[in-house]
Point group: D2
């Protein structure tokens, strides 16, 4: 059982990451959390687009990064701050405009370091458009 539900994480993100809000509406939403995993959604928005109507690389990076961060907090609770130490990302196909889904999974959740992947799909599609692996430094827990 994860320590934080999707609803709890959404409250946490809204409060601590105001730059993920647009006029009070969240641009990234946690859909579900589970054992070592979580699903997030990048809400369709003009801000995410690049020329040609496709979703920009930085928007996909943001989804992957927030996704893995939320997946870690779902396991350990909202104590202290996990910090991204590395992210490696492959962009494979141009996603259409529309919602983008990140299925996040942790490979390792150690006392100092977490490692996981985020697989990005257009909503309703099973064709992966981008894949990220990230590492996060976890602050000491008491």
């Amino acid at each position: 059982m994860p320590m934080l539900s999707a609803a709890e994480l959404n409250v946490f993100l809204d409060r601590h990451f105001p730059q993920l809000l647009d006029e009070g509406q969240p641009l990234i939403v946690v859909e579900s959390t589970g054992e070592m995993e979580a699903v997030l959604r990048l809400v369709e928005h003009d801000r995410h687009l690049r020329p040609g109507g496709t979703i920009s690389g930085p928007a996909m990076f943001t989804l992957a990064d927030v996704g893995l961060y939320a997946t870690i907090l779902a396991q350990i609770g909202p104590v202290g701050h996990a910090v991204t130490t590395s992210m490696s990302m492959n962009f494979m196909r141009k996603p259409p405009s529309g919602h983008l889904i990140a299925r996040c999974k942790l490979f390792k959740l150690g006392t100092r370091l977490a490692v996981g992947e985020a697989c990005l799909y257009p909503e309703g599609s099973d064709e992966m458009v981008a894949h990220a692996t990230g590492t996060y430094s976890i602050p000491p827990r008491r």
Copy 2:
């Protein structure tokens, strides 16, 4: 000699990447271009911050990605669209709020693929806060 100057690239970015503008002011500025290199600036802005007053990972990713893209266009001109195919990034230190500088360099500029690095520094510091290597697919040129 690069094909595009910093001024020409700034005009190009303003026109084609409106999401890099905030109320008409650019959030990323090309400072200089050179043979296989360019320098860009991420302008200090609340939108880039994360809790604790440090610059967020996604803001640094955006600077590195736009930086390498601009470095490629500086060499080949604003013809067609280079597309990010991968980006690998290490975040080493928390940058203070303030301007962030990216020194970008291409390792390879082939007919199909470009590879380069972006080294990120707080303005006025020579202590690198993040390092990115990216690969870009280049469309056929006539």
Copy 3:
């Protein structure tokens, strides 16, 4: 259906990659191939060890790289040479000495570029010790 079976790939690797043989015995063996996937084994051998009796990073890299290469050939046949263009790898746990298994999966198999992952496990364990994502340039096929 993959175009090449595990047995066919093993014959191909033995012939073209003699450095993967030790006194005529292969150090890496294809166990199975499938649609966009393959499983390979790094055979237990002193050459793979580093101080402390754990398997070295370069041995794990070799398994991931040969694994993804074999997975691509399993799909497109032994025509021409796919070339590794990038590899990003996270080492999460020290594997014990013994056989190491790579479960390889392709995310994309385009006409020019293939992208996939290799997940490495000690034989008989489901605890991943290392994860790699690789990109491969595919020569034109007639």
Copy 4:
């Protein structure tokens, strides 16, 4: 001033990494060490080749990994074991057979984590054939 010279590191590597020896001759040699940097050589050898007479990806990975490891030890001394936690590598050109040189530089040498790059060149050439960035976990020092 680095704590270990090239000669001291070569003695250390020969003793602790016998798999880097071929019939008593080292396959990788430290050429020089400096402040946060080192230069290493991958000695020309059939074992490093792949079909077509070019140096294999795993051989280049080994050079980059041993290179960054040696660069770290040059700074902190041969105490305890640094462990590779990630490596991200771009292969840009096919190197000819012959010696391969790695110019290694550390971006960060913290108490827990080191980050650096290895730039690989054919001997006598200034055209980079591969670039690696690696992260290393450093055991507690007393």
